[in-house]
């Protein structure tokens, strides 16, 4: 790529991180300052296609789609971030526990992870969100509770390798408790895996949360989450209001791609095989 000749990977990753942070900041600030505009109905400005005044057009009630998209994106990013963080922390704890707390714990956790990966993600999401009775809480719990198995396996495998290293064995001989060893010797080693796992989970979490709300689980129609916006626009597809679906969807795709790029760059930087490119 031309980009790789201009900057090395470290600089490029740094640029991507700054870009993503800026994006986050702009979305949250924009939603905070301008988002209220999306709740204002203005019947004289109904069904306007995108133009100078309304960059994303207006809907059938004259609400500004740009403001609604901003608010929706803020909600999607917030839900995704919260769910991905919860999921990654679950994975970290379970992965460490499986590898350090003995055979029984390991068997139980591996069994849980297998069961969690055995069902299609979306079916599991629907099941858990049903179990939580829907709502934003249901979506966050569903996404958090269904995305940990893969990362748990990675962390468990990593810790399994570390466990037989000299300093861990020495520490055990010195009479340290498993939990103490896990916290002081093992945890610092899996932090990179944890961070990369979290960053790579994030785009998945956003997409799955949007998918769930699109299907009608959770959010009430008054809260403009991106999935809800898109499922609302389904009703107006045949009347030619294409912008209701195109603009919010495109924003979602661009943000998911940005965070995917971030995750992949950080992974490549931390992976010793590719870090010197």
């Amino acid at each position: 790529m031309t980009c790789s000749r201009l900057f090395d990977r470290r600089t490029r990753t740094l640029l991507v991180i700054i870009g993503c942070l800026l994006f986050f900041f702009v979305v949250f600030l924009g939603a905070w300052l301008y988002g209220r505009q999306g709740e204002v109905t203005n019947l004289t400005l109904r069904k306007i296609s995108p133009g100078w005044g309304q960059p994303f057009g207006t809907d059938w009630l004259g609400r500004d789609m740009f403001a609604r998209t901003l608010q929706g994106l803020r909600l999607s990013l917030g839900i995704g971030l919260l769910a991905a963080t919860c999921s990654a922390i679950i994975a970290l704890i379970l992965g460490l526990a499986a590898a350090t707390l003995g055979k029984t714990v390991d068997v139980v956790i591996t069994w849980l992870a297998d069961a969690g990966m055995a069902t299609p993600h979306l079916v599991l999401l629907i099941l858990i969100s049903f179990a939580c009775g829907g709502g934003a809480k249901g979506i966050i719990i569903a996404v958090a509770a269904s995305h940990w198995p893969a990362l748990t396996r990675v962390i468990r495998a990593e810790v399994m390798q570390l466990r037989t290293s000299d300093y861990v064995r020495l520490s055990r001989r010195l009479g340290k408790k498993p939990v103490w060893i896990a916290r002081h010797h093992l945890l610092p080693h899996v932090v990179p895996q944890f961070l990369v796992g979290l960053l790579l989970l994030f785009p998945h979490a956003i997409l799955h949360a949007a998918g769930l709300t699109f299907l009608g689980f959770g959010m009430s129609p008054h809260i403009p989450e991106i999935g809800t916006l898109l499922s609302e626009s389904m009703r107006y597809l045949s009347s030619g209001m294409w912008w209701l679906a195109v603009a919010p969807g495109l924003t979602l795709v661009v943000s998911v791609m940005a965070f995917d790029l971030l995750g992949n760059n950080v992974r490549a930087l931390l992976d010793p095989k590719t870090m010197r490119e």
């Binding site: 849980l112 979306l122 079916v123 049903f130 791609m257």
Partner: protein, 337 residues
């Protein structure tokens, strides 16, 4: 290795897999039952829906008693597990029909959608991946990679909506909904009518499914081109295309087939979303209805069914390795890899 022991190896492999499937289904059944019974959604209220105010507390209790909801959860679980073990999945509350027959009927409709999408994405994804890998860092490679990365970040339901707007609403080439013309039953519709209704959802489903297989095949092709045998063939004067399609193909095809079989879970999830957009009456749409309207027997049935579905995919992947890859047959002799 003689034929006799290979057969024994395969038999042992099958037995082991069956045992794993049973354990897995038991685990998923237990977990999902716990999840469902902890739901705050009252199944009776979800069932009567808008007529909730017209149902008196007495009638509510009668329905609950009829479904066995007044018993403690542990007792309910064991009676449910006994039913499942004997092959009875109960009666769906929204369709008023045995769960198994609902799942069978809907799955047949979904099956054609998923099969078509799966084959398209497998074939095209593999071809794109090999071409991208063979001509690494060319304009072609970059275009293919950009496409794959974009599709990996794109929600499938949005792709479906764009397709619907373009081909059904604006151009009018394809129908807007359903799996067969309105007013006809599934049996009355002709093959071409069904294919016409199937085409757009299947293309949508395969467009996003292509991403993973393409990127995976590309990596494998690049690795194969850097291997000793490829360098040797190159030194003998073979062209890149020749090396890729005559020598690397076999090595790349096997992991690709495995990956494609192992991706049945994502295919199922994608089908749920695609069917929702195109109002395609398959198992995916039924899953959503069961979840929203609180049809617990159906939801549990679908969870178990989809678990078996995904397991079958992984099983096929393992089996193909066992049967096709000569290296595994020689070393492991059919033991679980």
């Amino acid at each position: 290795m003689n034929n006799q022991s290979t057969h024994q190896g395969i038999a042992g492999f099958l037995l082991l897999k069956m045992l794993r499937l049973l354990l897995l289904v038991a685990a998923v059944a237990t977990l999902s039952f716990v999840l469902v019974s902890s739901s705050p959604v009252d199944p009776v209220d979800a069932y009567v829906g808008a007529a909730m105010l017209k149902v008196s507390p007495e009638q509510h209790e009668i329905i609950a008693h009829h479904w066995g909801l007044d018993k403690p959860p542990a007792e309910r679980f064991f009676s449910w597990a006994r039913q499942i073990a004997s092959g009875d999945f109960g009666v769906s509350t929204i369709f008023n029909e045995p769960v198994l027959s609902v799942i069978c009927k809907r799955f047949v409709t979904s099956f054609w959608l998923m099969a078509l999408a799966w084959s398209i994405s497998g074939a095209i994804g593999f071809g794109l991946g090999m071409s991208a890998g063979a001509w690494e860092d060319t304009l072609l490679d970059r275009a293919i990679r950009l496409y794959a990365y974009t599709m990996a970040s794109t929600p499938i339901f949005w792709v479906g909506m764009l397709m619907l707007m373009t081909f059904s609403v604006s151009l009018g080439w394809t129908p807007v909904c359903c799996a067969w013309p309105l007013g006809l039953s599934a049996e009355q519709a002709t093959f071409w009518q069904r294919l016409h209704h199937l085409l757009l959802p299947a293309i949508t489903l395969s467009l996003t499914g292509i991403a993973q297989i393409t990127l995976h095949t590309r990596e494998k092709t690049i690795a194969a081109l850097r291997s000793d045998y490829a360098v040797f063939a190159h030194a003998q004067g073979e062209t890149t295309a020749g090396i890729v399609f005559r020598r690397a193909l076999r090595n790349v095809a096997l992991p690709a087939v495995t990956l494609q079989f192992a991706s049945l879970g994502e295919l199922f999830g994608g089908a749920v979303l695609a069917e929702q957009v195109f109002a395609y009456p398959g198992l995916g749409r039924t899953t959503v209805e069961a979840g929203i309207r609180g049809d617990i027997p159906l939801l549990l049935g679908i969870v178990l069914f989809s678990t078996i579905f995904v397991f079958t995919g992984n099983f096929m992947a393992d089996l193909i390795y066992q049967l096709v890859d000569p290296r595994i047959q020689k070393t492991a002799g059919g033991a679980s890899p």
